[in-house]
Symmetry: D2
Subunit: 355 residues, 4 copies
């Protein structure tokens, strides 16, 4: 039972088949192929407007390229102080931005509020002591499994406009957030004021399919050069585009994410009420964060449950972690089964029932 | 008939099957998977020594990361003035090196000689006017289809050591060069003095499989961070590794490259002797460069032959291109058929036979 | 009465005279001059060992170049979270390091302890999620006027060696710290384990004299290229070197810093005991940080006292700043007079005596 | 007799006196001082329009910052293939631009023509193989002592606009060019279409006074942050501004440059007609480039004449340098005397007269 991440599994059968189907024949390299053209049309339909899309190899590259598109080398990018962008990408955003500064903001569960941004600006010293703040990067959902409502995103976007910032959304788990909200892709992005989106397919059933989506064409200027310069322009780009085509076809993405989210909901419900265990953050997408005793974690590990522990810094202030406790991250995916989930719950209950 | 490049086709059936076979089950992300471990073992056997290998998404990234491994931001990298590194990667090496300078050296057919390097050093002004020269990057084969013999590589490596340079080999068409030379991978690389190699699989039957190979472990220090920071560490790395596993298994790479080279040889032989046409450079790997009249090119295009024109700067001095002439690049691959080649030759002969 | 900073005044008469005296005649450019050679000899004597020294134009450049000498583009530099390096140099260290990450550590009064570093390492997630930590930058004195004893520096250096870090000291107020400690320059630097030092003269009586000093010659390799590439190699370098020569001649630096420190001590003593006022941090060098009411600050401003307010984040935990209070920074220099200090104290007393 | 460069001498007496006069009293740091304000007003008058000016420490920094202002990290900057920017600044422009590419264009005597630019664009391959060309940097005067007429600059600017490029002028010897042309500063810059200028005072009588001048305010946006981030914002900026104030006051710059140019003219006239010697390029500013025998150079060196040899690549095609010949660079300055010049001529004549 592997709950370590949603990137430990391969592709959905449909997406794998699409790779095979795209293999034969000659096609233009570097994106000048029919698959890419079709995905671009799908994306326009998906977002209900014309967008500019660039396929890339990794989510890290998507985020770093997007960050560089909204923050110049001499600028500052705001993000949550425990965001993936600041903490898990080994300095890729700094590298792609050409040495810009990233300032980390606090916020429960990885979420940033307009007030936090306003306070940050109030504390700026003025003059030229700090690089000017140029952009905000938020994650939908966050590293702690939380999501922003369209209204919350719109409020952040309004605050961004007030301070002259561009808004980036890290959508590594875009599908899961969308399914959880039940809104349209447009409502969760450009209609709420998002300027550029990292749209991830890899964590939701693709082998490798990430894209940078621009809603503001001006921001996309020269981006094809920036992508190539980053070594992110695949010669046989149909490899990515074929995956995305299957991903969007017949709302396959929705099917996959709905399942993953449902498994997390089943898990959260099953865990709630078991003595000696509580959830660090609400379950909203495909992640569950129980706060457990070290003994329970050891018990689960011995039973073959694979998962990792997680940071407690962004817990709600009324949820302190005890000396002997640990926050676990349990991630479900399109291949997680109800049986897996129930078995995990069973292990927890068995441990809890011990005298 | 598409002779534009060896990256316009998909994967070989064996390699495509390997992707599908690698899809099921959970596996460690970011390279902690069984496929990657097996490829690493294969590479050690392939090179007859322990090597340090890193999979990446593109050949541009492989070259740029390798360049950065041998040349610091404040250094100068030498390469041929018409190399892929300097001319076709949209500044990726400069970006990855962090602003280092690339100095282009002259040389027939994209090949650099020890004398050229010595002359370059003799002309250096001293002091701190120029960034210190730190590395040399050569292509095996070159953009003009030529290859270095192991002895030529060893002579370049000796010159590099004399001047304190590290040696990188761009092996986007490594397999084709190896087959043409008939030597071992070891003889063409570390035994001849190569420090770091970009090993390309994409142009020889993979969908996307590139690797940076270090023969000097000291150069590989921290490289896992550099790769991650470049957005080149795939979460589902088995996608690349499975391709490489099939590529090396049973010398599949050799089979593919032998065919591609043979098709180019067939093409070159067929073209030789046709009036009004000559080859710009010797055919050594899977590329043929006929110098033809504009009229012939138009004729071929009308007949459905796809190919592109090429630079004439590095032609031998006795091969000037006439006013009405153009250098064509014809690239063969593992899917090129003898029938394709013969049809192309037929079109040329037909045009040539016109009154 | 200007207590805003020690960089609002010009040069000491002796240093100004040295600039004039160095003006005549031809001299080698870019540092190949007699003044530079003499300063290098002075520095060897000053530090009681051979050092490698490079003059630069600003303290920001000195710090940024030094940071880049100990931390590569793919690394992380540790420093205090309110250090000048992280907060006041507009991203210069990030720029010069080529996009490295700076991690801010907490600590009272801008000082870092070995324990803080150990805790930071314990919390590192491992793998390749974060750029590897390569160096530590400390300020002597800190932005809050505090200094490290040689024993404290040695303890930090020991912790650095344990974790494989190089140690940089930002010595913008090096002279003031040295005078306050009464130790030798050697004891405060290389004997305690410092690898590279930013030695500042500008804040202590020069017009523009900063240097990067290497105690480890290996770290200085290629530094002359790095400095030139940063636009920090002055063609008429004698302008800087002449200042430093006068600065070191006859321990002029000591004379200047002793006066500045004494004025701060006089100020701190005079302020202590006045009702409604306390010092945020101990006065150790040429800075005093009274915590005062907004009313007192307004009163001082109206009386012509110029100074700025300061961050309260690094105050001792038992020194909270009230709603109506503000932390002031008062900086003395070689031109501050006892009359200035006494007048300032007088204004404070007058306000305090009001009913 | 030192003819090595115009940066081997100190400051003019008037400029040195201005430094001393600016020393007393407190002044705002980082440019918030009265000297800087006055220089800004002088510059507006000098250029007959409002300009945005930033003082920096070196000409290399001025050029590199200006290059970065017109060419982003993912762009290409055009310049002469033997310009100071490409050949003598140790990669500073690449560093400041954040890894952009510099493409070197040919041209007699360091001068670029519109036709050369057009040809370069015609040869661009299209697609994303090369970073897009964003700017052109020309030197007034060139490394070979030649200057562009206002009409020539205007023609280049027109070509720049046609291709979407911004135009930078490296004015390290701006004064010398201006005096030689006899036109106004406005005519040589913005009226001809220059967007940004590196205005040098150091080579014409200052100790250290360089500025980046923007004629297009949009290009200057955020520049104060870029300068600070580059470690080029002096805390005691009055040091530079006081020099510039004296430089512009009463057209002191003109007086200095007129003398330097006159000495070069005297030298060129004196050398012409001496057997066995010819000038590589016309003498237009304060540099003379005789092509001499190695024997003559040895003779001059023995006589105490200091100068350096120079590149012959950009000589007119009808001026090949013989096996035993060398191109010398002789630079005059505001302190060069007619006696120095005549003595040098005398040495040449004496050698020439030998049997």
């Amino acid at each position: 039972m592997n709950f370590i991440s949603d990137n430990v599994v391969g592709a959905s059968p449909k997406i794998l088949a699409a790779i095979a189907a795209a293999n034969d024949g000659a096609a233009g390299s570097y994106g000048a192929d029919a698959w890419t053209a079709r995905v671009e049309a799908q994306l326009n339909a998906f977002f209900e407007r014309e967008v500019t899309a660039f396929m890339v190899a990794t989510g890290t590259a998507a985020n770093a390229l997007a960050a560089a598109a909204i923050c110049p080398p001499w600028g500052t990018l705001l993000t949550h102080r425990e965001s993936h962008v600041i903490d898990d990408e080994c300095g890729a955003p700094e590298f792609y931005m050409g040495g810009a500064k990233i300032a980390g903001l606090p916020g429960m569960g990885g979420k940033i509020t307009p007030e936090t941004i306003d306070i940050h600006f109030e504390n700026e010293p003025g003059g030229t002591r700090r690089p000017p703040i140029k952009g905000l990067s938020i994650a939908q959902g966050t590293e702690f499994g939380l999501i922003y409502s369209p209204a919350e995103i719109a409020a952040l976007a309004k605050t961004c406009r007030k301070h002259g910032l561009r808004l980036h959304m890290d959508g590594a788990r875009f599908s899961n957030a969308l399914v959880a909200l039940g809104c349209t892709p447009a409502e969760m992005t450009w209609k709420a004021g998002v300027d550029v989106l990292s749209l991830g397919g890899t964590k939701n059933g693709c082998l490798m399919a990430e894209a940078v989506i621009f809603f503001d064409p001006a921001l996309a200027e020269d981006f094809r050069f920036k992508r190539k310069r980053a070594g992110q322009t695949l010669s046989k780009q149909r490899l990515i585009s074929a995956q995305f085509e299957a991903f969007f076809d017949g709302d396959h993405w929705r099917e996959l994410a709905t399942h993953a989210n449902a498994m997390a909901t089943r898990l959260a419900k099953g865990l709630k009420g078991i003595p000696g265990l509580r959830l660090g953050w609400d379950q909203q997408i495909n992640q569950v964060f129980p706060i457990v005793s070290q003994g329970l974690w050891d018990h689960l590990a011995a039973a073959g449950v694979k998962c990792i522990d997680w940071s407690e810094t962004s817990l709600p202030s009324d949820s302190p972690v005890g000396e002997d406790e640990v926050v676990l991250r349990l991630v479900t995916s399109f291949v997680t089964t109800a049986a897996d989930v129930d078995a995990l719950i069973g292990h927890v209950k068995a441990y809890s029932a011990k005298p």
